[in-house]
Amino acid sequence: MADLTLSAPATRTRRNISTFRILVYIMLSLAALIYILPFAFMLGKSLQTSFEANSTTNIIPTLGIRLDNYPDVLFGSTAIGESRQFGLFLWNTVRIVFMSVVGQTVICVMAAYAFARMRFPGRNLLFGMLLMTLFVPSIIILVPNLIIVTRVHQFFTSIHPSLTWLNNWPSLVIPFLSNTFSIFLLRQFFMQIPNELWEAARVDGAGHLRFLLSVVVPISWAPIATTVLFCFVSTWSALEWPLLVTSDNTWRPIAVALSFFREDGGTRLHLLMAASVVALLPVMILYFFTQKLFTQGITTSGLKG
């Protein structure tokens, strides 16, 4: 596992230390400004009144901060439409993300452990099969998956009418429970756990399950947390698939709802931006607190998941 190296070699050339470095700082700060501006625009507009947001170019609210945009967006109002409650969409997303994260973490940790430390027939074959999934672009499996999910839906509803898959959480969660990238990352880490630990645990009478739960999981919290974060972010931002399988508000996630609002948002910029902030903020808060895990995970794997 390559660590993220932060220490640059001390390159102190004697000449033009100051001017060049100041230039670099100015350039970087300019770049950072460009990076921040869209976020600032979003936040600023979301706090403006309808008039200021839609008819001026101000980014900073000058005609008074209007916090009412947020309740409007969260609980629906006449301006945005009574049924368009981003609070509900947020709650849907939270539920979907929670189920995905828990399910994915449990089954991926188990599989990664088995691939890394257990001998069973067909291990290499199954792992090779999993790696093949990395080469499959999502667009290619969209149509077949839609039909498979429809068939499964029909099968389950024929057992009992309430066991729906379409427009319900199973179709949003279950197809994404297996994440090859997470398994790969965790397997790399589990393989590095010294065998002496396993020998010691076995002498103490622990089996694989016990060893996994009380030794492996505690010492590998960092990679597990990384996979949790990736799962969180990718499920939160997912658009392609949820757009196809959700047909009303009961399970519509916030990304889908926001894409619809963007289509007919029109001149309600302040509300659109407030909704964007609502969709963005949880992820950003998570990112600020766990920034190091994110960058470490991404630099070791190079993928978002």
Binding site: L6, T11, F120, R123, V136, L142, V143, S178, H208, L209
Partner: protein, 649 residues
């Protein structure tokens, strides 16, 4: 007495140990399979099986769910008769892969590691069973599934019987497994190739035969009446000759690339080779004649009065000509590809020629063949032109998007990473936090903001305000389908300037999407490049500085070569990523643009969402497979081109 009991005790202990060990192994195997089961099942149902199922769907009719087999019709609707060509090319790839596996097995058995030939019949048997089993699976009628399963079982039993008993069990087993896989692969590849080729020509025949019949009745051309009943047979023979030729070329190219190869043997195989070449030549001449007859007939058909035609068929003359000329196109393209393959063969042989004149003559042959092949392939755009123009446009749009995004995002990322890594000591973490933010942020939210930043409004659109402060006219970013370079040229040179079509550049909405992608992925690339820079040994950097290398020289000659693996990896990721890109383009898109932002994924997605009788979901599946093919080819191409330039420590 004491000794015997001691020995017995040891033996008893080992037996008990062995029993407990084997029980532990069994437990571990069961537990391991249980651990993997959920992932394996889900990955199979929702990630791997859909690929095969999607391929099956792409050959079906029906609007939302597949209803009945239509063969290659969907593919033909997307890319015209090029679809037949691609099917044939895929079967050629099957043949070559099969040949490669066969060669590997034969080489191993030549080295005395077993007898590969004994495995071949079993391999064909098992492959046959496998293919039949999949065929049965796809009909979703499981009543016949037992027969192929039974044959498969027999094959597996035969394999078990073939397993060597004596000698070192481990080594023999390894070779045994390799032989099993190779023989099965050879069987699978050859059978699939034969099936696919047969199927392709069958399809072509099925679609065009009724119209060919009409043609032969409406137009009386003696040459054509000889040719047309034989068309599928000629085509099949032609395909076989092409496949055998391809194996031959692959074999020779490999031999000439291998300096230790045994010297060429003439004799019986030499005669066969000449015979084969003669047959191929005759076939080529015959096919060219057949093509000419077909073309002549079509020309004559143009003069036939429409009333005469109406007595035979309801099909419009244009459709008739289109369908029938597919034969011509397929023949021509096979010929062209064959010529180019031969040219490659001669080209690779040229460098092994001893004399200059020999080399020159071989090169000349190669060039002549290449020119000939190119002329034949010239028919390709015409053949492809019958397909879905929206699909082509979307591919061009995607390519433009990739071509303008990837270099910029990579170089900006490298620049940022380099500055951050070598020049900044305070606030490095802060800058990284900022630069990485867009990548983590939900795409829908940030893309919505960009849609607002690039607003059409000349008075409140932020980007338009920026343009205004520089004295430039505001633009309708989310509407104007004009090319951006055309717009720039109009601003500079006045409203009457017209740029040539290939220079007008991407439309304004696409420019917005490109800028968004650069904004997101530069930061991401910067973070990964920083990791790559962290792996550059400090000593090398310092040595370059001591030797008096400037910043640029150090970068160009020390740092850049050392981070080439990172660059390679990021390029690969970026190129395939741009061809898969979806979410932000979907969000930026409005009906106003009239498709100016429809990249291939978006076009496919829209087809899925609004499936109609013309653009069905199976049609979308066909398009997605073509896109997948493009991504695959790009990946392979990039691997091939940059392999030698990457420096791994």
């Amino acid at each position: 007495m004491a000794t015997t009991s001691y020995v017995a005790g040891v033996q008893a202990e080992t037996v008990a140990q062995r029993v407990s060990r084997s029980r532990a192994q069994l437990n571990e195997a069961i537990l391991g399979l249980l651990f993997v089961a959920p992932v394996a099942i889900i990955a199979f149902i929702f990630e791997l099986f859909p690929v095969a199922y999607g391929f099956f769907i792409s050959m079906q009719g029906g609007v939302n769910v597949p209803e009945g087999f239509v063969g290659l019709a969907n593919f033909v609707r997307v890319i015209g008769s090029l679809a037949y060509m691609i099917a044939l090319a895929v079967s050629l790839v099957f043949v070559l892969v099969g040949y490669n596996m066969y060669r590997r097995g034969v080489e191993a058995s030549r080295n005395g590691q077993g007898n590969f030939y004994r495995y071949l019949p079993v391999g064909y048997l098992t492959a046959f069973a496998t293919l039949t089993f999949f065929g049965v699976l796809f009909t979703l009628d499981f009543s016949y599934a037992l027969i192929p399963l039974g044959v498969l079982l027999i094959g597996v039993l035969c394999y078990a019987l073939l397993q060597p008993r004596n000698g070192d069990p481990d080594a023999a087993n390894d070779q045994h497994l390799a032989f099993v896989l190779n023989s099965w692969g050879v069987g699978l590849m050859t059978l699939s190739a034969v099936l696919l080729t047969w199927f392709t020509f069958y399809e072509l025949h099925r679609i065009s035969q009724p119209l060919l019949n009409v043609l032969s009745q409406v137009v009386t051309n003696p040459r054509f009446s000889y040719v047309y009943p034989l068309l599928p047979q000629i085509a099949a023979l032609f395909g076989t000759v092409a496949a055998v030729g391809a194996i031959f070329v692959a074999h020779r190219v490999r031999l000439s690339a291998d300096p230790d190869a045994e010297p060429r043997k003439h004799g019986f195989f030499g005669i066969i080779r000449w015979l084969f070449a003669a047959i191929a030549l005759v076939l080529v001449i015959y096919v060219i004649g057949a093509q000419d007859a077909l073309r002549q007939t079509l020309t004559q058909f143009e003069r036939v009065p429409r009333e005469t035609l109406r007595a035979f068929t309801r099909v419009t003359p244009a459709t008739l000509v289109d369908t029938v000329s597919q034969w011509n196109e397929v023949f021509t393209m096979i010929l062209g590809l064959g010529f180019i393959g031969l040219a490659y063969f001669f080209w690779s042989r040229a460098k092994h020629r001893e004399t200059t004149s020999g080399m020159l003559s071989t090169l000349l042959i190669a060039i002549a063949l290449m020119v000939g092949g190119w002329m034949f392939i010239g028919e390709l755009p015409l053949a492809a032109g019958r397909g879905d123009t929206q699909f082509y446009d979307s591919i061009i749009r995607t390519a433009t998007y990739a071509f303008l995004t990837v270099p910029v995002q990579l170089s900006l990322g490298l620049l940022l990473a380099y500055m951050l890594f070598y020049e900044v000591r305070f606030g490095k973490g802060f800058y990284r936090l900022i630069f990485f933010m867009p990548y983590i942020a939900p795409t829908v939210a940030t893309a919505t903001v960009f849609a607002m930043l690039f607003s059409n409004s000349p008075d409140t659109g932020p980007i338009n305000q920026v343009l205004k402060t520089f004295g430039l006219p505001p633009q309708e970013w989310m509407r104007n389908p004009k090319g951006v370079f055309q717009i720039i040229a109009e601003i500079i040179g006045g409203p009457n300037v017209r740029l040539p079509n290939f220079l007008i550049g991407p439309s304004l909405p696409l420019v917005a999407a490109i800028i968004y992608a650069i904004w997101v992925f530069s930061g991401y690339n910067a973070v990964i490049f920083m990791n790559g820079l962290g792996n550059v040994p400090k000593e090398m950097f310092e040595a370059a500085q001591i030797d008096g290398a400037g910043r640029w020289q150090t970068f160009r000659h020390v740092v850049f070569p050392l981070i080439s693996p990172t660059t390679f990896y990021l390029t690969l990721l970026a190129i395939t990523g741009t061809f898969r890109t979806f979410a932000h383009i979907w969000v930026l898109r409005t009906p106003d643009m009239r498709g100016a932002l429809d990249t291939t994924t978006v076009y496919i997605y829209e087809t899925i969402q609004t499936a109609s009788a013309i653009k069905t979901r199976p049609y979308a599946a066909a398009m997605s497979f073509l896109l997948f093919g493009i991504i695959l080819i790009l990946t392979l191409l990039q691997n091939r081109l940059t392999r030698d330039k990457v420096f791994y420590g």
